[in-house]
Every structure is written in structure tokens, then in C-alpha cells.
Amino acid sequence: MPLNEWIGLLFILAAAPFFLAGSVGLLRFPDLYCRLHALTKADNIGLGLLILGLMIQSLSLADFLKLLLIWLLVLLAGSTAAHLVARSALRQGRKPWERR
């Protein structure tokens, strides 16, 4: 395997813990707002690393730009969706969790 594929693989492997952490946070965090936080933060970084790894593996400009576009779109859509979910929950009067 060429060197760039190895380096790409390292980035992809580095992405996995973030997805895992996001999923664990989604399942274990106490309320909706915390879960949103875990999910979006972890996914954004995880996906970023994954995309970076794939870019290094492909080494073609067209793929590079398409992957970059995918990442930016997911960032945009993810943050907007998280914002909308949180706002609608706040309006329904859900109180954020507090440590007792």
C-alpha cells in the first residue's frame, strides 16, 4: 500500500473514537441538550478526520473538492438541525438538566 494510503488510514482510524464517543454520549447523557452537544460535536470532528483521511487516500483534486463539499454541507446541515431541535425543545418548555 502506498504511503498516502497508510496516512489516510491513520486519519480514518482516528475518526472512529469520535463517532464512538458521540454515540455513547447520545445514549448516556442526561437530557436532550447534552445529547445534541455530544452528537454534533463528535460527529463534526469525526467526519472531518474521516474526510481528511479519504482526501489523502484519493489524491485527486476532483475527489478532494467533492469530499470538502460533503464535509461543509454536513457541518451546515448538522448545526442548523441541532439548533432547530434545541430551539423547539426550549419553546416546549423543556428545562436543561442541572447537576443536583
Binding site: 454541507l73 451546515l76 439548533h83 432547530l84
Partner: protein, 316 residues
């Protein structure tokens, strides 16, 4: 030794079965909807693994995306009122249903099992005559040339679906709270990109996975976003332009089908040399028609008659 990929396939199959079971047995309709969308996404992954990227694209865009949005909006409109606890029925009735279902399952399983493992199908014939199809992607060649009939009738089905939805009532104004600036900002950014990607998928269909249905579904997601963001359609376009766009795919396909007939040529047999142009023309119009059809289905009924519309001749 199991390779990593077949392990992946195994996990995928188990997840799909697990999801299907949970979505069918979910009492909460919202939960079932979310599981359905997840199922669609994993199913498209399964199509990728089966080396059918065309189907995967369609499944992701239509199966998970647009259908998911349709189910969600239907749930929002009707709420949980319809999800009353159904009477489970007596034990022997349930046993009867279960054994009938199991019998059908066994029959299907036997049918699949008795198929030869290596089936050529019509692959050889298709590849042999790809040169005559006018395109390079065999899937597009089959859908828009060799079996254009099927696609023509699919357009008829879509058209009938809209007629059905429209005859049931008018589209309701969504009762959602105002979407706010963040969604509007996202929509402003996304709409031009959606139009671009839709055109790209349409053009790509000639040589690679893509085409009218995928492009149309992407464009339809633009309509869905606009409706969700509270952008009201232009009233002057809601009359005959909307109806013309809805019927355009089916109508143009029919016109081409009849127009190319003559001499020794059959219905839908494109004259040599015209294939690519005709396919591109049909697919272009189809993309728009499919997008408008899906968008209209999301709106959920015929456009509300605004006061004054349709009464232009009358004096008030």
C-alpha cells in the same frame, strides 16, 4: 476465515433485520418513522455492497430522504390519533395469520433457493447492444431505451399519485412555528447547490450512476426545504404552470413514443442517431416533473384556491 467485508455485510444484514422488526413492532409512530429513515439509509448501503450504485442513490434520495419527509409530514398532520391500540385478536386467529405468513416466507425462500446461483439474465444482450442505446451507462440504457416502457408507466403512476392526493383535499398551511433565520440562511445557501447537484446527477446519468429519478429527488428536497422554511410559492405559478409541470414528464414521454413510431419502427424505438438527444430531452423534462410531483406530494394536496383565483371572468 471471514474477510472484513463479509463481516461488514453480516453486521449490515443483522442490523437491517433488527431495524425492520423494531420499526414494524414500534407502538410509537414517531419512533417507527425515525427507524424507517434509518432503514432506508442502511438499505442504500446494502445496495452499494450489491454493486448497484444506481439503486443505492435512488434508495437514499427517494426511499430514505423524500419518503421519510413524506411520512414525517403525514405524522405531523395526523398526529398520534390514528395509533390506537389495535385489538390483538384471538389466539387461533393470530396463529392462523402467523402460519400463513410463515408459509409464504418458506415458499419465497424456496423460490430464491432454487434459482441458479449464477444467473446471466439479460446482461449479455444489454452489453452487446449498448452501442445502439445512445448512452454509456447500461442502467440508463435499459431504463430510457431498451425498457423505456417501464419508465413511461412509472411516470403515469407518479401522475396518478398526484391526482389521488389532489382529489382528497387542499394542502393545509403548515401549523409549524416560524422557522427562524437560521433555517432560512441554510436554505439560501443550499437551493443553488441543490439545483446544481440535480443537474449534475441528470447529466451524469449518461455515463455513470445518476439520472432523472435521482436528480429529481434532489431537486424535490429543495422544494421540501422551501416549504419547511415557510417560503410560500408564487401564486401565479400555482395555476396552470404547476399543472403543466406535473404532467410534462408523462406527456412528453408519450409524445416522443408516438412521434418516433412510423415505417418499421415500433412505439418508443428511437431513430438511429437520435437516441442520445431524445434520452437527454426526456430525462431533463422528467427530472423537473419528478421534482415537482414529489414536492406537491409533500405539500399534501392541491394548492388552496386563493380568493379571486379561478374567478377571473366574474365581476365582483
Amino acid at each position: 476465515m471471514i474477510s472484513a467485508l463479509s463481516l461488514f455485510d453480516l453486521v449490515l444484514i443483522i442490523l437491517l433485520l433488527w431495524l425492520a422488526w423494531h420499526l414494524l413492532s414500534a407502538r410509537d409512530l414517531f419512533r417507527a418513522t425515525v427507524l424507517f429513515i434509518t432503514y432506508g439509509l442502511l438499505m442504500s448501503l446494502a445496495w452499494v455492497r450489491l454493486k448497484a450504485p444506481d439503486v443505492a442513490l435512488a434508495e437514499a434520495a427517494i426511499g430514505a430522504g423524500i419518503t421519510g419527509a413524506l411520512v414525517l409530514v403525514a405524522l405531523g398532520r395526523f398526529g398520534e390519533a390514528e395509533s390506537d391500540e389495535a385489538e390483538p385478536g384471538s389466539l387461533w386467529l393470530r396463529g392462523l395469520v402467523a402460519s400463513a405468513a410463515l408459509g409464504l416466507f418458506a415458499l419465497l425462500g424456496w423460490a430464491v433457493w432454487s434459482l441458479p446461483t449464477e444467473m446471466a439474465g439479460l446482461k449479455a444482450q444489454v452489453f452487446e447492444r449498448m452501442g445502439e442505446s445512445g448512452v454509456e451507462n447500461p442502467v440508463t440504457g435499459v431504463l430510457l431505451n431498451f425498457r423505456a416502457w417501464d419508465t413511461l408507466l412509472e411516470m403515469a403512476v407518479l401522475f396518478l399519485a398526484v391526482l389521488g392526493a389532489w382529489s382528497l383535499g387542499e394542502a393545509e398551511e403548515p401549523s409549524m412555528p416560524a422557522p427562524g433565520e437560521s433555517l432560512l440562511a441554510l436554505v439560501r445557501l443550499l437551493i443553488p447547490l441543490i439545483v446544481l447537484v440535480s443537474g449534475y446527477l441528470l447529466w451524469l446519468g449518461e455515463t455513470a450512476p445518476g439520472g432523472a429519478f435521482q436528480g429529481g429527488a434532489v431537486l424535490a428536497s429543495g422544494f421540501v426545504l422551501l416549504l419547511l422554511a415557510g417560503v410560500r410559492p408564487i401564486p401565479s405559478l400555482m395555476g396552470w404552470p404547476l399543472r403543466a409541470a406535473l404532467g410534462s414528464g408523462f406527456a412528453l414521454f408519450l409524445v416522443v413514443a408516438v412521434a418516433v413510431t412510423g415505417g418499421s419502427r415500433m412505439l418508443l424505438e428511437y431513430p438511429p442517431g437520435w437516441e442520445k438527444g431524445l434520452i437527454l430531452l426526456i430525462e431533463g423534462v422528467l427530472t423537473l416533473a419528478i421534482a415537482v410531483t414529489l414536492g406537491v406530494l409533500f405539500a399534501g394536496g392541491r394548492p388552496p384556491a386563493s380568493p379571486g383565483a379561478g374567478k377571473r371572468g366574474e365581476k365582483r
